[in-house]
Symmetry: C2
Subunit: 383 residues, 2 copies
């Protein structure tokens, strides 16, 4: 355990690291953004598009895939990689977070979570054994343990209980993955540190999980409604207590500046539906902040979205992309998702390059400054 | 006039021809199927996808593009090819058919058609000058004249009037395209023969339009509700009176067997929304008839859609494509549209190859027989 992840460079000005993570489907260069492919597809894109924009690893959602088409079906058809035609690494979550956010009538018990499907109301149960079995069926390169994600805000006593239960579940998940040969076969299992806004619980969660010596560690329970400074404080209260030689992952985050700030806190891996979700509504990212292509000002604009990034979408004018968006054409979703995911992938690629060049600290501050100034200017000119 | 189209081979057993059509954006090999790109995009596909599946020429819809984003905007941005990133030929219709099928409160006058936009109710007018100006703004390689499409069924007197008016409009369109240099610049204008189910009016329409010596001719007013035998009879009552040395086009047609039957009647060009429209509902074409991927029987099916055709979509199992369709994922629309349009393009490519090999007659009969037997079998096994 431990040789699967190498820290290649550590930044002198921040806690940022440049690393590489070995998986059953190849090496992932970190820091890295991971596009989200909830139902066996990154919405609106083909696998070819994902290769074209430099995606190294994508996410699958255990909760959704287990409901439909079921993990057994995917297993019988050769696993999720083959099913969806993606031959690079896949990380899957445990499904626990979706049980909390999507399912009906959930009940947390010591042995897991009972709930009803949001699709048809079927009564279901996910415990440590179930989530690990499902992720083994999917053939996940990185499986996440089951955890209990406390709401925000949250009483400290309830949070301490969630941290303790998440530790017990992580240990049980590790046992299942040991017993069924999942870990021995080179699949990874990452544990999740909870603790809400309580620094001491965050530290306790990180340190107790570190003792399990799992292949990677995530910060969970962030971006659940708390303000951004609080969110960054929670990440900063967790990462120092995670093993240095294991990859660190913040789940479900964030905006481009947030990602850079978290890289500076020592986080290696990110996933977020933000870029693909807003793309389907006409919002695109640029180094000068987000741009709403539905805006009338782009009706006759012959320029590409932004000159600094080059992909299939940048071959088209803002006027054309706006037209597709206003007309409700599917191609708008495809082209804008392609651009936004490339923007996030390119951002982490730039971060890697600046870590190698040794100027990550100054670069990331300047990048955020330009982005936020541009966003403020666009906002003001709309007013 | 006339050197832009060459008939390379004529079939001995049928009236089918193998030809090639020169346009401002390259040569089109005929017979050919043309994917429909109504609003400046073939729904759900990128231009790259269209190149990958061998599309040679696509359609644009004047009615839609003129309402949104307007033909002036497209002209100012360099024309439709540049706007949508498609560097091969584009044929545009006149917008007349959509006025009849989509617009509100339409009124046919001698100088054109007054109507209200289906989008916002704006009062608009399309006459010969307007439709030719719009298509010149779009930079169309092949512009269609304005015509009056009688409904089915239709009184003979009313039909004769529509035929006569369509002739006058065609002549006026030709005059506009001569005066503004459109024809001299190598753009083509195709006229449209109407005549409903009246053989003598069909012949009169074809012969009178032929006297205008335009670059191409279409059969209009077919597939407007009449049964298939009647539709084929109308095409067969028109094509013999069209010039041999000009391309022939049946507008808005048809199923794969219908396309082969019309090729046998001497038609060179086809367009139809059928393959892309049904794809978005999970229906795909195979040499053994259409296949509804929503059907439960494909839930665990590891096979590709059909083994005889190879494209990006055939890399996926029916089970995966069914999953995407049932889950409502956009990728289903993209992958199934790609397959269906490739199937139609491949069908005309096969027709061209068999015309060259000299066995089109027997091949097309056998192809239709297999397709219809397969379709009947699938239908029976659903019952």
């Amino acid at each position: 355990m431990g040789t699967h992840f190498q820290v290649l460079t550590t930044d002198s000005a921040t806690a940022a690291r440049r690393g590489q993570l070995q998986t059953r489907h190849g090496v992932v260069q970190t820091p890295i953004f991971m596009p989200v492919g909830t139902q066996g597809t990154v919405k609106a894109l083909t696998a070819q598009h994902l290769h074209d924009i430099g995606a190294q690893i994508i996410l699958g959602n255990t909760y959704h895939l287990n409901l439909r088409p079921t993990s057994e079906l995917i297993r019988d058809l050769g696993g999720l990689h083959k099913f969806m035609g993606w031959n690079k690494p896949i990380l899957t979550d445990s499904g626990g977070f979706q049980v909390f956010s999507l399912a009906k009538l959930r009940e947390i018990r010591e042995d897991g979570v009972a709930f009803q499907s949001h699709l048809d109301g079927a009564k279901l149960f996910l415990g440590p054994k179930e989530v690990m079995t499902i992720q083994a069926n999917l053939g996940s390169d990185i499986a996440m343990v089951l955890d209990e994600c406390p709401p925000w805000p949250c009483e400290k006593a309830a949070c301490a209980e969630a941290v303790a239960r998440s530790y017990r579940w992580a240990k049980q998940c590790q046992q299942v993955a040991t017993d069924n040969g999942f870990l021995a076969a080179g699949h990874h299992v990452f544990a999740i540190a909870q603790g809400s806004t309580f620094d001491d619980l965050r530290r306790e969660a990180a340190e107790s999980l570190a003792s399990l010596d799992l292949p990677g560690y995530a910060v969970g329970g962030v971006s659940v409604g708390e303000p951004e400074p609080e969110m960054l404080k929670q990440v900063g209260a967790t990462t120092p207590y995670m093993p240095v030689n294991k990859p660190r992952y913040t789940m479900g985050l964030g905006t481009p500046p947030q990602i850079l700030k978290m890289i500076a806190l020592g986080v290696d891996m990110f996933d977020c539906v933000l870029p693909s979700r807003v793309a389907r509504n006409g919002l695109v990212f640029t180094p000068d902040g987000p741009m709403n292509l539905r805006n009338e000002r782009y009706r006759t604009d012959p320029l590409p979205i932004c000159p600094e990034i080059s992909n299939y979408t940048t071959g088209f004018s803002r006027a054309y992309l706006r037209h597709l968006t206003v007309a409700g054409e599917m191609l708008s979703g495809t082209l804008l998702t392609l651009h936004n995911l490339h923007f996030f992938l390119d951002l982490t690629a730039q971060a890697r390059a600046h870590l190698e060049a040794g100027d990550f600290g100054s670069w990331h501050r300047a990048w955020i400054e330009r982005y936020e100034a541009g966003a403020a200017e666009r906002k003001a000119s709309r007013a």
